[in-house]
Symmetry: C2
Subunit: 198 residues, 2 copies
């Protein structure tokens, strides 16, 4: 291509972001180099800094700059509950909802044979050790309601069941604001089968 090599290199590098194809990468490069060079430097510095300083919490496996993260360190959290989630984003959603005061464990993924991710690629040994060393009496399997999420929850459920702990999963049914007319068939079937007495 006839364009500057540094521009080509940057376009190629940005394509490593998930879901970013050649056209989007080109748009990012144009924005950063023609309109927002300060933004380009800020992103570069934030990346360098994160790569240098972000590790995983020894206990919950979430991103953390200290060996043990703020949540695991907090005396205010209930140590008898562990909520297992797929990603840090899922953990953030719970924290923003403010519904939960126990501890977490972040798998950093889900069982997904299509992507070549099996149980060994998740941090399940660490999870089992957390269950061993803490006064846990409930494990909440808060996977996404997807094929892979369900498979991951099934796998963990079987593994943890041997330890005699209470295992729960998030409720399934109609979301708030859900209108029957527009609901997908699968959700409607689940909501019907799981109907509860009033």
């Amino acid at each position: 291509m006839a364009v500057a090599k540094a521009v080509d290199d940057l376009t190629k590098a940005l394509r490593r972001l998930p879901g970013v194809g050649p056209k989007t990468a080109q748009r990012f490069v144009f924005q950063l180099l023609a309109r927002d060079r300060k933004g380009a430097s800020d992103i570069a510095n934030a990346l360098h800094n994160a790569v240098e300083s972000v590790r995983h919490c020894n206990q919950c496996n979430n991103f953390s700059e200290s060996p043990v993260c703020n949540i695991c360190n907090s005396p205010a959290r209930d140590r008898s509950q562990i909520c297992v989630v797929e990603t840090p984003a899922d953990l953030n959603s719970f924290e923003e909802a403010g519904v939960y005061r126990g501890l977490y464990f972040v798998l950093m993924g889900k069982i997904s044979p299509m992507d070549g991710i099996g149980p060994d690629d998740l941090n399940i040994d660490e999870l089992l050790e957390v269950l061993q060393t803490n006064p846990v009496n409930e494990v909440i399997l808060a996977m996404n309601i997807t094929l892979e999420g369900d498979a991951t929850a099934d796998y963990l459920s079987e593994l943890i069941a041997e330890r005699g702990l209470k295992i729960t999963r998030l409720a399934r049914g109609l979301p708030l604001g859900g209108e029957l007319e527009y609901m997908d068939k699968g959700t409607l079937i689940e909501a019907f089968h799981r109907r509860v007495p009033t």
Copy 2:
């Protein structure tokens, strides 16, 4: 938020990319820090490098690492034609199509009152100087077929007309593979009004 500060900083920085909201930024951060730290470093280095080394070509205003870019420097290009485009991506599209052997001028934007971009924010003085100092006899106004693109072409056309140069624009009509049944009304109207004798 309870998560590591470096993660928050990176998420915020990535939101400066066009079209990237909080959820997408979070997904980028997860991918880079949990799965592809090499990618994170590569992007950071490519950004630093591009910010350091990429300037604008003195003649065509495209991104360039040298004062004058490869295209403007090439003896193989026809100096009697200047194709004016909005962005480097548009220039790349022409180069990939291989249809054009003249020179370019890259405006690095378009007139867009909604975004506060007027004629003074484009590099029109530079364009006029290029027209002054080169043996140009045709200016091709290759703006996008959008409201802003048309406004920009109209503005340039009026400005350049005073110089007695031949001014052309890209043809409008049905794209290859265009099926009338699925074509938008505006395109169909243009194609009809601009119909040509066979």
